[in-house]
Every structure is written in structure tokens, then in C-alpha cells.
């Protein structure tokens, strides 16, 4: 009996540990939610570098208050993202939260945002279309563009300049790649191209032989929207299987994490067109100074990935808006959200402003993989597509008629 009493007491005291959510008046807490575990850890860490670059630019203060970054970690699953967001908001008491990183996480955090109207959510790099397009949350802002916007110009470029008429797609099976394929096909199909086969593979797939076998013989090119290890695995196996069709890359397929891989893969990747919110060989002075500032972060890549860029832009917007309202979020963040909605500023990749759904309108970069002078593969800037909006320049009612993004939509076999 003695034993149980003590056990009960121990449990009780443990569970009533006081919450330590007291913020001093001269600091402002900002939650930073990214994938610090799971398959996207490398990407999440680069996102953090981007966010910290923005914080470092203002010497860690905003409106005379010290910035305190509270980090939350997810493993790219929506459940874990919401859990981490809950912890930051309900336990650490943050009123401003930057994140999350990936598509389905963004959709889940948007749903959570609706239950916390006093907290202001600013996206990290999550790029699913419906995070802001359909059924948006009043307090969720996205200063990074979505996955369909990232594809602006690529479909037309592939059809007209490259002369591809028939393209097969291979992409991961979740909301972000759906959005990317949608963005590519919206233009490509409109230009007159055909997509006879679409393959969806689970994240972390290792064996692509059945996928490769299903790709029709007569396609002119393959559109690949896979990330990190998935892209390397697919491309290696496709090459070993004797595949020769040229490639078209999704935004995260030909980023630095894949381009820095070794082996014969490099030859396949050269000349691959792609599009996204950043380009490695951007000559704009603003981009160059961003790269220099980013390089000061511990463990930085040779060039910032689009995750570093996305988190940077969103954190920068947060700090600018906080500065405008004097760091005051005591009114439940109302003033801050007004400031955010009206905010328009120059990022390293051009001007960014928000539309009525609080989604960014920004420049998109059409790129092609080339070998740099030092032998590293780079995304060479081909063309800048200025000020792409979420409906890709199509009138909104017409765009909504295209339907929600999913595995079967759009279709032009």
C-alpha cells in the first residue's frame, strides 16, 4: 500500500508541473515549425537556416523587442505537424507561428489555425494549392507561392521550345506533387501536349522497376516530381534500365540535394528544364546578398535551397509586419494580420504581395540544369516569369472550374 501511495504522489506531482509559458515584455516569441525528424530532416534544417537568416538581418530584434524563436518539430506527417503546432501555441504561448514545411502538413495546420483565431500563422514552404485556394483560414498567410505557381512557364517551354508533345509523369503520391503536376499540365495540355501516363509513388519508395516498366515507350520526355532520395533512386534505376527519354524536373527534383549527388546520374540531369521560386545563377544583387547572408548560417549548402528561401521570405514578412505594429500582438494579432494582408516587399527573388486569399503573387524562375565552372551542377536561369498569381493568370472562375487538385485532375491523355 505504501508503495502505491508513493507512486500516486509521484505521478501527481509530475503531471502538475507548472507551465513555463511566461514571456517577458521585452521579448516577442515566434514559433518555428519545420521537419527536424523523418525523411525531410535535411530540408527542414535548411528551412531553419533561411528563417534564421531573416532573424539575423534585424540582429535578432524587432520593434525594439528581442526575438525569441521557439522551435517545433514534425516528421512531415500532418498529425505530427498539428501536434507540434499545438505545443507551440498552447504550451509555449506563441502568438505568431512560422511553418510548416510540406504540403499535407500545411493543409492540416490551416485547419488547426481556424480553431485559434487569435494566433497568426505564416506558412513555411508548404505548397499544396488548397491550403489557401479553397476554404482558406482567415489567419493563415502564405508569402511563398504554391506548387502550381512554381511550375509557371514550364509547360509552355517544354512544348514550344523543347518540342515535347507527349510526356509521362512520375510523382510522389501526396498533395504537393499533385499540385506540381497540375501546374505543369495546366499549361502543357493547353498548349496542345498530351500526358498518356501518370505514375504516383509512395514517399520513400525504393524499387521503381514496376513504375519504369509502366512508362510508355513513345513518350518524348518524362516529367519527374520526386524529392531527395526518391529522385536519386528513380533516376539511377531509370538509367540502369536503359531509359533514354529526356527529363523535365519538378521544383524539388533538381535542387541542390539531388544535383550534388555523384555518379553517372549527372549526365542524365544535364539540360533538364525545371521551374521554381529560386534559380542558382540569379544575377540580381538582392539574391547575391541573400546567398552571402545565408552562407553565414552553420552547415549551409553552396546555394540556398527553396526551403531556405521560402522560410526566409515568410519570416521576413513576419518581421516586417511585426515592425509595423510595434511588436504589439496584445489585441489577438488583429493589427498584425491587417499589416500582413497589406504587406508588399522586395525579396531576394523580386516583389511579393498577397491576394485576397492571403496567398503570394511573386516571380517564378524557369531554369535548366548546367555544369558550373567548378564542375558542380547548377540551375541556370533561363527566364523569369513575372508576378505569377495562384490562378496562373487564368480568370478565377474559369480556374476554379478546373476542379480541385488530385491524382486524376487534370487529365489530357
Amino acid at each position: 500500500m505504501h508503495r502505491r501511495t508513493l507512486l500516486a504522489l509521484a505521478l501527481f506531482t509530475g503531471l502538475t508541473a507548472p507551465s513555463m509559458a511566461l514571456a517577458a515584455d521585452d521579448t516577442i516569441k515566434i514559433g518555428l515549425l519545420a521537419t527536424f525528424e523523418g525523411p525531410f530532416t535535411v530540408l527542414g534544417e535548411d528551412g531553419e537556416r533561411g528563417a534564421m537568416t531573416a532573424v539575423a538581418e534585424t540582429n535578432g530584434t524587432v520593434a525594439g523587442k528581442k526575438i525569441e524563436i521557439v522551435k517545433g518539430s514534425s516528421d512531415a506527417s500532418p498529425d505530427s505537424a498539428v501536434r507540434a503546432a499545438r505545443k507551440l501555441v498552447e504550451q509555449d504561448g506563441v502568438k505568431v507561428l512560422v511553418g510548416p514545411l510540406s504540403g499535407d502538413e500545411g493543409l492540416a495546420v490551416k485547419d488547426y489555425a481556424k480553431t485559434k483565431p487569435d494566433v497568426t500563422f505564416i506558412n513555411g514552404t508548404s505548397a499544396a494549392q488548397d491550403t489557401t485556394l479553397r476554404n482558406p483560414a482567415e489567419n493563415f498567410f502564405r508569402f511563398s507561392t504554391d506548387g502550381a505557381q512554381w511550375m509557371a512557364g514550364l509547360g509552355t517551354y517544354a512544348f514550344k521550345d523543347k518540342g515535347y508533345k507527349k510526356v509521362a509523369t512520375v510523382a510522389e503520391d501526396y498533395s504537393f506533387p499533385y499540385t506540381q503536376v497540375f501546374g505543369f499540365m495546366a499549361e502543357f495540355c493547353k498548349a496542345g501536349g498530351h500526358v498518356p501516363s501518370k505514375s504516383w509513388v509512395p514517399i520513400g519508395n525504393k524499387d521503381f522497376s514496376s513504375v519504369i516498366a509502366a512508362i510508355p515507350e513513345d513518350v518524348d520526355a518524362i516529367y519527374v516530381a520526386l524529392g531527395g532520395a526518391d529522385a536519386v533512386n528513380f533516376l539511377t534505376q531509370y538509367q540502369q534500365a536503359g531509359g533514354t527519354a529526356p527529363l523535365i524536373g519538378g521544383s524539388i527534383t533538381v535542387d541542390q540535394t539531388v544535383l550534388t549527388s555523384k555518379g553517372k546520374l549527372r549526365d542524365v540531369l544535364k539540360g533538364t528544364p525545371s521551374a521554381g521560386p529560386t534559380a542558382d545563377t540569379n544575377d540580381a544583387p538582392a539574391w547575391k546578398s541573400f546567398v552571402a547572408a545565408y552562407a553565414k548560417q552553420p552547415g549551409a549548402f553552396p546555394s540556398p535551397s527553396l526551403f531556405a528561401h521560402g522560410y526566409y521570405v515568410n519570416m521576413k514578412a513576419t518581421l516586417l509586419a511585426l515592425d509595423q505594429v510595434g511588436g504589439d500582438v496584445s489585441d489577438g494579432g488583429k493589427k498584425l494580420r491587417e499589416a500582413l494582408s497589406k504587406l508588399s516587399f522586395d525579396t531576394p527573388t523580386g516583389k511579393v504581395s498577397l491576394d485576397k486569399n492571403r496567398n503570394a503573387v511573386a516571380d517564378i524562375f524557369l531554369t535548366e540544369v548546367t555544369e558550373g565552372s567548378d564542375g558542380n551542377l547548377l540551375n541556370k536561369l533561363v527566364k523569369v516569369v513575372p508576378q505569377v498569381n495562384q490562378t496562373l493568370g487564368i480568370p478565377e472562375d474559369e480556374f476554379m472550374k478546373l476542379g480541385a487538385v488530385n491524382r486524376d485532375n487534370p487529365s489530357c491523355p
Binding site: R3, T5, L11, L15, S19, E37, D104, L107, D173
Partner: protein, 342 residues
């Protein structure tokens, strides 16, 4: 035993306290009063969540502790109940969602979980030890990938969102306090049921089967039927936990039933200790607290290392988990009063 029976007539009140145990009463009162001191976050995200995972691990403890069957498929069983709630009830993913009322959905979901659990049990009772572990791991992994790639029933990678806990008697059962009491109610009931069940004829038979199945078979017991029934009972617990889990998250996706979660359940059971039904709950509290707060202690880069190290230390110091640790300290404490001062 006869002494206890005699005492019953003499002083029924004391016997009632004896039977339940003063520790249990204090624990119950403390847990009932806990909402008075705890913040909403500690109420749901820590306490409620710990109790859900505690019940899930309890279903594993029931199988492993009393039946000697180590399963990695408990989260799969809970997932079946969770998906059933999403499919039979309402969700906002525009796939299925029959919109049945909760009082039909819940029994169906729990029954589906219990029957699936019995099926998993029926497949795996032919194996023993590490082979049971392997076969249940295979089932958990296969279900995870099936859920991830099936769109007609499981809605693929994104799963179901917008699942709400019921509102009745004017109470929204997902509000922090009601949800806490819901979890507490389930945890207490399951705990009491397992404790009672372990002392029942069936419980005793299970433990005998665990220790010597051949002798039990020779005595005329149907070993397979007993084991499958134990799986069925464990399935009810896991199914109930699954229903609370989907109400808690408001969503269910393949990530909810992933292999890493299956291993978390095993870790909780091992950390807590498999000898007594309180073990899984103690383990759940330790694991959930670690997973929630480790990031504040060591930062974002290495917090999983810290979690791993703590678990390693616990298992290294006491192979029986925290309960075993307690069992080792207790004799010293008991003798404390007998010792003279220095």
C-alpha cells in the same frame, strides 16, 4: 485467502478499501482533481494523450504480460477503429463518410477493431516469441502501405480530416475538460478490467498457457481459442483507444498507424514494465513528456538522441522498466523504518 473471507464479515468497510487498495483510491482522486491545477495543454496534449497511448500499450501488456504474445500490430487495430469512425461517421475529405450518429459508429468501430485483432491473433498464434513479433510487424507494415496507397477506402496519403468528437448532453466532448474525463474514464475502466481479468479464471488460464502451453493442452484446454480470445479482448481496448485518438486528432492518416508509432507503443510498454497494468500508463507519461519537451532541453537538432538515451538508461538500469526499478527500491524503503539512526 480464508483469512480474507473471514475479515469480510467482520469489517466490510475496511475490506472494501483493502480490496481496491488505498493507492488506487488516492490515485483516482488525484486524477479526478487534476483539471483544477492543470492547463488545457497539460490536460489534453499530455494527460489525455498519455492515457490514450496508455490504453493502447495496456492492450499490448495484456497480450505480452499475461499471454506471452508480443505484438506490434496494436496501433493497426486502433487505426482500424479510427478509420471506421472516419468512414462511418462524417469527415470533410469528400470521400465516403456515411454520417451515422456516434452511438452507432463507436460500437461498429470497436467491433471492427476487435474482430480484426482476433483475426491477427488467429494468424499469429501459431508462432512464438520473435516470430510473433515479426508477423505482427509484417501486418502493421502491410496495413500502413495499403492505407497509403488505397484511395477508395483509406483516401491515400492524406487520409481523413475534419472528424469531430460528438456533442451530447450539451457538452462538446473534445473540449479540454470533458475530453480529459473521457480519457480518464476509459483508462480507469480498462485498467480495472485488466486487473480484474488477470485474476479471473480466464486470466489465470492465460497465464498458465503462457508458462506451459503443452501442459495446458494436455489438461484439455483449447490453447488456440484462449489465445485468440485474448487478442479479441486486446482488440476492444485498442479499438476504444483508436476512437479517442481520432477524436483527439480530428483526423487520421497513414502516418497515424505508421511503423514508428507501432514501435512507440512497444517502447511505452517496455519502459513502463510489463508486469502490472499500471506499467503502460507510467511508460506512456514518461514517453509523451519526453517527446513533447526534449526539444526544449537540447534544441531541434539532437532531441531524438536525448529521447533515445533516456530510454536506453531506463532499460539498462532496469530491464523490467520503471515498475522493475520501483520493485528494486521498495525493499530498501520498507526497511527504512526498521533501521536505527546513524
Amino acid at each position: 485467502m480464508s483469512l480474507a473471507t473471514a475479515a469480510e464479515g467482520a469489517a466490510p468497510q475496511q475490506n472494501w478499501l483493502d480490496k481496491i487498495g488505498a493507492g488506487h483510491v488516492i490515485l483516482a482522486v488525484a486524477l479526478l482533481l487534476y483539471p483544477l491545477v492543470a492547463s488545457d495543454f497539460f490536460l489534453t496534449q499530455i494527460a489525455g494523450y498519455s492515457m490514450i497511448f496508455g490504453v493502447l500499450s495496456l492492450s499490448l501488456m495484456l497480450l505480452a504480460g499475461y499471454g506471452g504474445m508480443l505484438s506490434l500490430a496494436q496501433i493497426t487495430v486502433a487505426g482500424i477503429a479510427a478509420y471506421a469512425v472516419a468512414i462511418l461517421g462524417s469527415n470533410n475529405s469528400n470521400v465516403l463518410g456515411f454520417g451515422w450518429p456516434w452511438w452507432i459508429v463507436v460500437p461498429f468501430a470497436v467491433a471492427a477493431a476487435a474482430v480484426s485483432s482476433a483475426l491477427i491473433g488467429w494468424i499469429s498464434v501459431r508462432t512464438e516469441g520473435i516470430y510473433t513479433l515479426m508477423i505482427t510487424l509484417a501486418i502493421a507494415t502491410a496495413t500502413f502501405y495499403f492505407a497509403q496507397q488505397n484511395y477508395a477506402i483509406f483516401n491515400g496519403h492524406s487520409g481523413y480530416a475534419g472528424i469531430h468528437a460528438p456533442v451530447f448532453w450539451g457538452i462538446n466532448w473534445r473540449d479540454p475538460k470533458p475530453f480529459y474525463y473521457l480519457c480518464l474514464g476509459l483508462a480507469m475502466l480498462s485498467y480495472a478490467a485488466v486487473l480484474y481479468g488477470s485474476r479471473s479464471t480466464f486470466g489465470m488460464t492465460m497465464q498458465a498457457i503462457r508458462d506451459n502451453p503443452r501442459r495446458m493442452r494436455a489438461l484439455g484446454y483449447h490453447v488456440t481459442a484462449h489465445k485468440v480470445f485474448a487478442w479479441f479482448l486486446a482488440g476492444i481496448l485498442a479499438g476504444l483507444a483508436g476512437v479517442l485518438l481520432v477524436w483527439f486528432n480530428g483526423r487520421v492518416s497513414p502516418g497515424t498507424i505508421g511503423v514508428d508509432v507501432a514501435i512507440d507503443i512497444l517502447i511505452i510498454a517496455v519502459i513502463g514494465g510489463l508486469r502490472h497494468p499500471i506499467g503502460p500508463f507510467v511508460g506512456a507519461i514518461v514517453v509523451i513528456l519526453m517527446q513533447t519537451f526534449a526539444i526544449d532541453i537540447v534544441g531541434a537538432e539532437r532531441f531524438n538522441t536525448l529521447i533515445g538515451l533516456v530510454f536506453l538508461v531506463i532499460v539498462f538500469v532496469s530491464p523490467d522498466g520503471i515498475l522493475g526499478l520501483w520493485g528494486r527500491i521498495k525493499p530498501h524503503l520498507a526497511q527504512e523504518s526498521l533501521r536505527a539512526g546513524p
